[in-house]
């Protein structure tokens, strides 16, 4: 096993443990995360397998395929986070507004 493989597999395991310990989510989440982590470890150990899949999809190298998937994934994450920020901002605005109205003063 090369240095980069050890580093990546260590990272995947660390994220997996952190996620379980931190969020204690439903079983379904755990299974999905488990499958993703296992797949990640598999492809780190046998990187040539990604090239086989890539070729089937019309991409030359496995690394390129991963790169494209990563871009899509990050755009998805940004969109999700942005939607959440907007929801939070709108709730915060409501609270601030209500307080401002409740504490309105008449200056003399």
């Amino acid at each position: 096993m090369s240095g980069i493989q050890i580093l990546l597999i260590g990272g995947v395991i660390a994220i997996f443990i952190y996620y379980i310990a931190r969020f204690r989510n439903a079983l379904a989440d755990l299974i999905i995360l488990g499958i993703f982590s296992a797949a990640a470890v598999f492809f780190i150990l046998y990187p040539d397998e990604t090239t086989v899949i890539a070729n089937k999809l019309g991409v030359q190298r496995g690394a390129d395929l991963l790169f494209y998937i990563c871009i899509l994934f990050f755009i998805f994450i940004i969109v999700k986070l942005y939607a959440r920020i907007r929801r939070l901002e709108s709730k915060l605005t409501e609270i601030i507004r209500q307080r401002a109205k409740d504490e309105a003063k008449k200056t003399e």
């Binding site: 601030i96 507004r97 109205k101 309105a104 200056t107």
Partner: protein, 231 residues
């Protein structure tokens, strides 16, 4: 001529963010005419409250800075809850002229419109605007046109008047500058009758520094776009 109006029933909403150097002059002018003034401080670094001493106005304060759109909505809701007959929005940086309010009110009083919008480019209005600022406003007008399909002579003029029908419906959700476009969408969606009215703009060194920049234009564009996507 429209019927006489009780100035006390006209609520003028003045959003203020770090306007402490000019806010007293702006508010005094309005109080002298007899309007009910609602100052909404949008989380200024220095509270404008001490500068309003001796002036009978309602003072509301956002604890943190939420944006001009948010401040306007707070002021409008407050005025509505205090049974305002008409609600005016009026920038806190001193570029508007209090005497123009009666011109904005006329079409509402005669029941020709539900919503009036100030325009610095209509015949009868005066402004001393630089070329660069004119260009920025052209871009803003174009943005408004793309998103609302409404062709107005002015965009992002902070002076507006609403009758009770319009103010009951208004619900600004764009906290930032994009609220101006959102209000047009709102007029269109609710099929409100609107008119543009010539108003004078005073460009002082102070208000120029606070005004719309090209960068703001881009921000507004993306705010509206994202609002369309995320609702």
């Amino acid at each position: 001529m429209p019927a006489a109006i009780n100035h006390k029933d006209v609520f003028v909403v003045v959003p203020a963010y770090n306007e402490q150097t000019v806010i007293r002059d702006v508010v005094s002018e309005l109080v002298d005419i007899g309007y009910t003034v609602v100052v909404v401080d949008d989380g200024s670094k220095t509270s404008p409250e001490p500068f309003l001493k001796g002036l009978p106005v309602y003072f509301l304060q956002h604890e943190i800075n939420m944006g001009q759109g948010a401040a306007l909505q707070t002021g409008i809701e407050f005025s509505r809850e205090h049974h305002a007959s008409y609600i005016i929005t009026f920038d806190g940086d001193g570029q508007h002229n209090a005497d123009d309010i009666k011109k904005l009110l006329e079409p509402l009083q005669t029941n020709e419109a539900d919503f009036t919008l100030g325009s610095r480019f209509l015949k009868g209005a005066a402004h001393n605007m630089s070329g660069a600022r004119k260009q920025t406003l052209q871009i803003a007008k174009f943005i408004n046109y793309i998103f609302t399909g409404m062709r107005l002579t002015d965009a992002y003029n902070g002076m507006r008047a609403l009758n009770p029908k319009a103010s009951a419906l208004v619900n600004i959700r764009e906290n930032g500058m994009a609220h101006a476009t959102e209000l047009l969408t709102f007029i269109k969606k609710n099929k409100l009758r609107f008119q543009e009215v010539p108003v004078n703009i005073r460009y002082t060194e102070y208000s120029k520094n606070k005004g719309l920049t090209v960068w703001n234009g881009f921000r507004i564009f993306f705010d509206i776009l994202l609002n369309k996507i995320f609702g």
